[in-house]
């Protein structure tokens, strides 16, 4: 039995070697220059050449990296901003969906948190008195997010406006600011609205509405919001000449209007 098994193994090995040799020969024939190739497959010559693409495809487009990024959000549903991310927290202010100018009411997004039920809340800067107030609103009350890479600095001492993009100055101009009895408020604010093509030479050709409000002229029509706008009295600039608004020469406000999007954070110091 043992001898017979050994004979069978030898025969099996011989058959295996023969099979391997035949397979190797077949592969060699297939890949030799004289062997049939895909191009000689029946009908293959009739295939058209492959088409080039209609698109010029660029490399993957990475996001611009910048620490100087700010986010705004539109108020989609009227909502009460609260002192902390909880429906039980104290109310700070009721936010409407539109501004008095008829534009979307924007808030600057500062952070996020979840309440105990897992609901998402957004920490926002508010356009209310006292200046600098923030609050929390449910994410579901907010709509579109926007991103800006700009930041406007207002220096009340010099007085001068400087616009930064990605942290670098791209615009600077002398300004008029509030008189001592009607001071321009200091603090952190943002651009809420942009007004153009109105009929008021006093404000020049373009005006931005900010979230800053005069703490003195609280009974001013519209609530005493501080604007950044042109002027029909450029000779007064720079100086402390306004009721709290920030005035620029008309060519400067037009240039600023070209560079500064709504939602831009504003620091007045």
């Amino acid at each position: 039995m043992a001898k017979g098994d050994g004979g069978q193994r030898r025969v099996g090995r011989a058959l295996g070697l023969a099979t391997a040799a035949i397979a190797a020969a077949a592969i060699a024939v297939l890949f030799s220059s004289r062997s049939p190739s895909l191009s000689s497959v029946e009908g293959a010559q009739a295939l058209p050449a492959s088409s080039s693409s209609a698109l010029t495809v660029p490399l993957p487009v990475r996001l611009r990296r910048s620490a100087a990024v700010a986010y705004w959000a539109s108020v989609r549903r009227a909502v009460t901003a609260r002192t902390s991310p909880s429906h039980g927290a104290r109310a700070v202010e009721r936010l409407a969906t539109t501004t008095p100018e008829g534009t979307a009411n924007l808030v600057l997004a500062l952070g996020r948190a979840r309440d105990r039920a897992g609901r998402l809340w957004i920490h926002v800067r508010l356009p209310v008195l006292p200046n600098g107030r923030t609050g929390w609103v449910p994410r579901r009350a907010l709509g579109v997010y926007g991103v800006v890479h700009t930041h406007l600095l207002i220096d009340l001492e010099r007085p001068r406006a400087t616009l930064l993009r990605d942290g670098r100055p791209i615009f600077s101009a002398p300004i008029g600011v509030g008189r001592p009895e009607w001071p321009t408020p200091k603090g952190e604010f943002y651009i809420r609205v942009r007004l153009t093509r109105y009929r008021s030479p006093f404000y020049g050709p373009l005006a931005f509405g900010t979230s800053a409000r005069s703490s003195v002229l609280t009974d001013w029509p519209g609530g005493g919001f501080v604007g950044i706008h042109g002027t029909d009295q450029p000779d007064l600039l720079p100086g402390r000449v306004s009721h709290g608004c920030i005035r620029l020469r008309n060519q400067d406000i037009l240039e600023l209007g070209r560079l500064m999007p709504v939602g831009t954070p504003v620091t007045i110091r």
Binding site: S51, L55, L63, Y71, L195, T196, Y203, S242
Partner: protein, 236 residues
């Protein structure tokens, strides 16, 4: 690995329509779609001449080229949606862990798709709509499920249009994007615990179905109005 794949479910448990159901902006979505269609036909003749010329083979009719431009604009709208979704997620930085690299990698690719299609369409390109992702870009679980749904949708949309594309050059371009979307879909499905390839043959989705699905998300919204012509009422 094979046994793991076998154990995965074939479909995600989420449809895009489940992400938001309040229906507040449905009309806006329809308006956006309507405007895109309306402006396309007008622009395709005026602004898309270069592309039309590039796409049209000598024997191809101008009507066929216009049809291809329409398909390209349709693809562009889907690419806008995907690119905006991943871009916002990456910027907000609220999605982390094993998903952290997803918006960065997929966003870069989808933005490249947008750039390529826009460059090809020139002035005939539809404008980018506004998007409100309603917190999905700030929620780990919802982000992944939406990514699966978006990638599957894109794959199905490209597939359905392939047979309608007249220009071989545009078909080659569409196929080159379609296969990338399919890879994205497989990756997202695997991360979500869904079989990357559940069936041996995929089905395309016609435009009407894709639009209905996109509209059901309420992610496409009117652009917030930020400019007015009212007289300023500031302190002056």
């Amino acid at each position: 690995m094979a046994s793991n794949l076998e154990q995965l479910p074939s479909t995600s448990d989420l449809t895009l329509g489940e992400l938001d159901r309040d229906g507040a902006i449905r009309e806006t979505v329809e308006r956006v779609s309507g405007e895109s269609r309306a402006t396309f036909l007008e622009k395709a003749v005026v602004g898309g001449a270069a592309l039309l010329g590039a796409l049209a083979a000598p024997a191809a009719s101008r009507a066929a080229a216009k049809s291809d431009v329409a398909i390209l604009n349709y693809a562009l709208t889907l690419e806008y949606l995907q690119a905006a979704f991943y871009t916002e997620t990456e910027r907000l930085g609220a999605v982390g862990g094993e998903l952290k690299r997803v918006p960065r990698q997929l966003g870069a690719v989808e933005r490249a798709h947008v750039a390529a299609i826009k460059a090809a369409l020139g002035q005939a390109a539809v404008k980018r709509p506004a998007f409100d992702f309603r917190g999905v870009t700030e929620d780990q679980t919802k982000f992944l499920k939406t990514a699966v749904a978006f990638e599957d949708l894109a794959v199905a949309a490209y597939k359905a249009q392939a047979a309608r594309i007249k220009s071989p050059a545009l078909l080659a371009a569409a196929i080159s994007i379609h296969s990338v979307e399919a890879r994205h879909a497989a990756w997202m499905r695997f991360l979500a615990g869904v079989k990357p390839a559940a069936t041996p043959f995929d089905q395309g989705k016609p435009i009407a179905e894709v639009k209905a699905i996109a509209a059901s998300t309420h992610f496409i919204v009117a652009r917030p109005k930020k400019t007015s012509t009212k007289n300023p009422n500031y302190t002056g």
